[in-house]
């Protein structure tokens, strides 16, 4: 690999990582507050992405105009689902973790089937900003750059929202101690519903952005969930800064592996990393839980 190619792969990887940031942060938000690994996360991402494809093609709306629509739609869906199927499982310690894992595992199949039923099985993509910049010989895709910037801004908003707003502080308080937050007068049940709604809304935005840069089908959902989990596990579960760094790192590693070893290895890389990270750095994972 020449130096130029290396820089190109690095840039591609960083841009790819930019698209992972939002998927991972929304999963991180849900895990941080509720200690629920949302296995349906990828399902929400693909439904929003495929909906965007449909809306752009059938309704003729601007791709970027789909972002607020899927955000609101995701928030409503998450806000309705949480009290119905997740909240009853909370407060049972280790049991809660496993039960919510099983429930979101089931939910993922429901979402994937809905996506298959409504949008078909094809891999599709929304053509958007198909121009490239040439920065000193390195080619930068405008769409990728825009999504990375969008994802970055949303993550920053999320970060400052959690730190400086009342609801954000309630979310953080609830994630540290349920009883502690309750005795401060916080309705933890409602906080969890808000966290889940916000997490799904951000996952939906991530899906809408993702389909503008890479093809996606209903069956991509599992891969996206695992990818997001790898990112947050690598960054230390629940850590927002760690997950951001990890997303870019994973993007670069994946781009490099894809360039050197081919697409099949690239697609299985998240799974290999998943097991490797969990086994080799279990303390890194538990650091912030």
């Amino acid at each position: 690999m020449s130096a130029m190619t290396a820089i190109q792969v690095l840039v591609n990887g960083l841009l790819l990582g930019g698209t992972y940031v939002l998927i991972a942060q929304s999963l991180n938000l849900i895990f941080g507050v509720m200690k629920v690994v949302n296995l349906a996360h990828g399902g929400f991402v693909v439904i929003a992405g495929l909906f965007t494809f449909w809306a752009v093609n059938r309704l003729g709306i601007e791709p970027l105009a789909a972002l607020p629509i899927v955000f609101v739609g995701g928030a409503v869906l998450g806000g309705v689902l949480e009290p119905l199927i997740i909240e009853p499982l909370m407060g049972k310690g280790r049991q809660s973790e496993l039960l919510s894992l099983i429930v979101t595992f089931g939910l993922n199949y429901v979402l994937t089937q809905i996506a298959l039923f409504s949008f078909g099985t094809d891999y599709v993509s929304v053509p958007f900003l198909q121009m490239t910049f040439n920065v000193g010989g390195v080619i930068v895709s405008a769409a990728l750059l825009l999504t990375a910037v969008f994802a970055g801004i949303t993550t920053l908003l999320l970060y400052f929202g959690l730190k400086y707003t009342f609801i954000g502080k309630s979310l953080l308080a609830a994630s540290q101690s349920t009883i502690g937050a309750q005795s401060c007068g916080i309705d933890v049940g409602r906080v969890r519903a808000v966290a889940f709604a916000l997490g799904v809304a951000l996952a939906a935005v991530a899906g809408a952005l993702l389909i503008m840069v890479q093809p996606m089908s209903a069956s991509s959902s599992d891969n996206l969930t695992i990818l997001a989990f790898v990112v947050i596990a690598l960054g230390g579960l629940g850590s927002y800064r760690g997950a951001t760094v990890a997303a870019f790192l994973l993007g670069v590693v994946q781009a490099a592996v894809g360039y050197l070893l081919g697409g099949n290895v690239e697609s299985v890389l998240p799974f290999v990393l998943l097991i490797a990270i969990m086994v080799l750095w279990p303390r890194g994972i538990q650091r912030s839980t």
Binding site: I102, V103, F105, Y109, Q113, F271
Partner: protein, 585 residues
């Protein structure tokens, strides 16, 4: 001491055969034979699929239901079995039956080799790790051109559908038999103790890693055999069908629906749902998986124990019975008689601590403390908060490294023996918060501790004896979680006695107890020396709770030993009064 509670120590419950079980067996045989004899090709195929689902359900139940390790990627073993069998058939001259069982063997080898890595992951991490493993396998076989790559490979159907069916049924019976063994045996009890509290199980002497690996390998064997048979049956395999992730979904649905961790749940769940799906969902293939997804959600939320728990609530008798409970408690058994007395005659103290110091950085938590505990003695270590009691306690058990000094047991220096080694040498401890195996019975909580280092029959007798001595016998079938806090504490003491330790260390056993509960626990501790325990060391915050219990008391103040004598003298010692009440001017 022991009362005539029963006729003879070896009496076992007469084997009861429930008419319903007998009826079920007869029906099962009739249906199993009738299908190939009178059924159409379609019926045989459907029956084969149903039995395959039952096999997968029982295998998954083995791991998830009993050890509590949820696998989201068990299809990995199904696929490995399918491919191993196919490759053996295509490239070696081995007969069909060898290839099918060799496929199972390959899966077991894979399970045993990845087990030590995967089983280090707990809870959600294991579930996700298995999901990843299945995907890695699928990609490997997609990329590997030798067995056909992404296009798959054809295998000539040498076996008739009826032969495949018969082999599936036999495999299913074997998978059921292993589940039956788990719910009836001491080994199964070990597995369930892993599910309840893996760390507590380890502390009680359960070789948790060995138990997990054996269960994991067994739960890999049956899906692999089913996979091999499936390859024969379909005459064609490719990675998407061999490693189909929806198979895991279906298996989990079946087991949850029937009742996870139960003997009959997987059978009930898999057979009903497979047949219902066949009848009702033929016209709805597009939403079949979504419906299964909804069933998973519905069962977890509305019927957590599955159909089996529903049947039990309606008066059925499918609940698991505690393992190895004798019909009548043996009498006349006394382990003190058989206990090796190699320490007898030794002049040395039971436990001796010499010049022990523990420093954390610059802070000296325990400063140059020496004391001895003699045969049959109960020593209580007291002191104000931060006096160094717990540190001294942890130093004796080996949980905290010491900075200087020596500890010896029966004159043998154990300063360099690690924590688990000290457990094997006869030092047992309790935890501040009892860590009982909540969902198991009182009987099983004690039996799991008594089992290790003993023959099975001895363990049962020993457990019965401990429960009898402590008056817990009437509660033996209760779940540990339903006991009052005082009773839970007694059960924990019973578990300590069950490992037959030489020295027992009790960590604030009476904290947060009512007077009555304290009195019960005190009674138990007073019995310890005559129950074969050579010495008891307790750490306690409340002096009143232990003053009349201890033979001697040791008072710590800022890491120093300021008194060590009989309770009367200690309590009137001006230095002790000062340490507790401050300087009264």
């Amino acid at each position: 001491m022991t009362q005539p509670a029963s006729d003879s120590p070896s009496s076992r419950r007469p084997r009861e055969r429930h008419p319903a079980v007998l009826l079920f067996c007869v029906l099962f045989v009739i249906v199993a034979v009738a299908i190939p004899a009178y059924g159409s090709a379609y019926a045989v195929q459907l029956a084969t699929d149903v039995v395959q689902a039952i096999i997968l359900a029982y295998s998954w139940n083995l791991l998830a239901g009993y050890t509590g390790y949820l696998s989201f990627g068990h299809v990995a073993f199904f696929g490995i079995g399918a491919y191993a069998t196919t490759l053996l058939v295509l490239h070696t001259p081995v007969p069909w039956y060898v290839s099918v069982f060799a496929g199972g063997g390959v899966a077991v080898i894979v399970a045993v080799s990845v087990g030590p890595v995967m089983l280090r992951l707990r809870g959600i991490l294991f579930a996700l790790g298995m999901l990843g493993l299945a995907r890695i396998m699928e990609t490997l076989f997609t990329d590997w051109q030798f067995p056909g790559g992404a296009a798959g490979t054809v295998i000539n159907g040498e076996l008739t559908p009826i032969a495949v069916y018969v082999l599936m049924v036999l495999t299913g019976i074997a998978a059921f038999a292993v589940n039956l063994f788990i719910v009836k045996s001491g080994f199964g009890l070990d597995a369930m103790s892993v599910r309840e509290d893996e760390d507590a199980a380890l502390a009680l002497g359960v070789p948790t890693n060995k138990v997990k690996t054996i269960v994991f390998a067994t739960s890999a064997l049956f899906p692999a055999i089913a996979g091999g048979l499936m390859a024969w049956n379909r005459s064609y395999i490719d990675p998407p069908s061999a490693f189909d992730p929806t198979m895991d979904l279906l298996t989990i649905v079946f087991v949850l629906f029937g009742g996870v961790g139960t003997l009959w749940g997987p059978l009930i769940g898999a057979s009903t749902l497979m047949i219902v799906a066949e009848v009702l969902l033929v016209r709805l293939p597009a939403i079949k998986l979504a419906l299964y997804g909804l069933i998973v959600i519905g069962v977890v939320l509305l019927l957590p124990g599955g159909i089996v728990s529903l049947i039990n609530r309606l008066g059925g008798r499918l609940a698991r019975k505690p393992v190895l409970v004798p019909a009548a408690f043996p009498s006349g058994f006394d382990p003190r008689v058989s206990k090796p007395t190699d320490h007898a005659g030794a002049k040395a103290a039971v436990l001796e601590v010499r010049d022990l110091s523990v420093r954390f950085g610059g802070h000296v938590a325990v400063d140059n403390v020496s004391f001895q505990v003699g045969e049959g003695e109960i020593l209580c270590i007291i002191g104000a908060n931060g006096a160094g009691k717990t540190t001294l306690f942890n130093a004796i058990t080996g949980a905290v490294p010491i900075s200087q000094g020596h500890i010896s047991l029966f004159g043998k220096d154990i300063t360099d023996v690690p924590l688990y080694g000290r457990v094997h040498m006869g030092i047992a401890r309790t935890f501040q918060i009892p860590r009982l195996l909540a969902d198991l019975s009182v009987w099983e909580n004690v039996l799991v501790a008594a089992r290790h280092g003993r023959q099975a029959a001895r363990a049962v007798e020993h457990t019965a004896w401990v429960l009898h001595i402590l008056g817990l016998e009437p509660l033996k079938l209760e779940h540990a979680a339903t006991l009052s806090p005082g009773r839970q504490r007694e059960l924990e003491l019973a578990r300590v006695l069950a490992v037959q330790p030489d020295v027992v260390l009790l960590d604030e056993v009476m904290a947060g107890m009512t007077r009555n509960e304290q009195e019960t626990v005190r009674k138990v501790i007073r019995q310890f020396p005559e129950l074969g325990v050579h010495a008891v060391i307790c750490v306690e915050h409340v002096i009143a709770a232990v003053a009349d219990l201890s033979d001697r008391m040791l008072v710590l103040d800022f890491g120093h030993k300021i008194a060590h004598d009989v309770p009367d003298k200690v309590l009137n010692d001006p230095a002790v009064v000062r340490a507790y009440l401050g300087d009264v001017a």
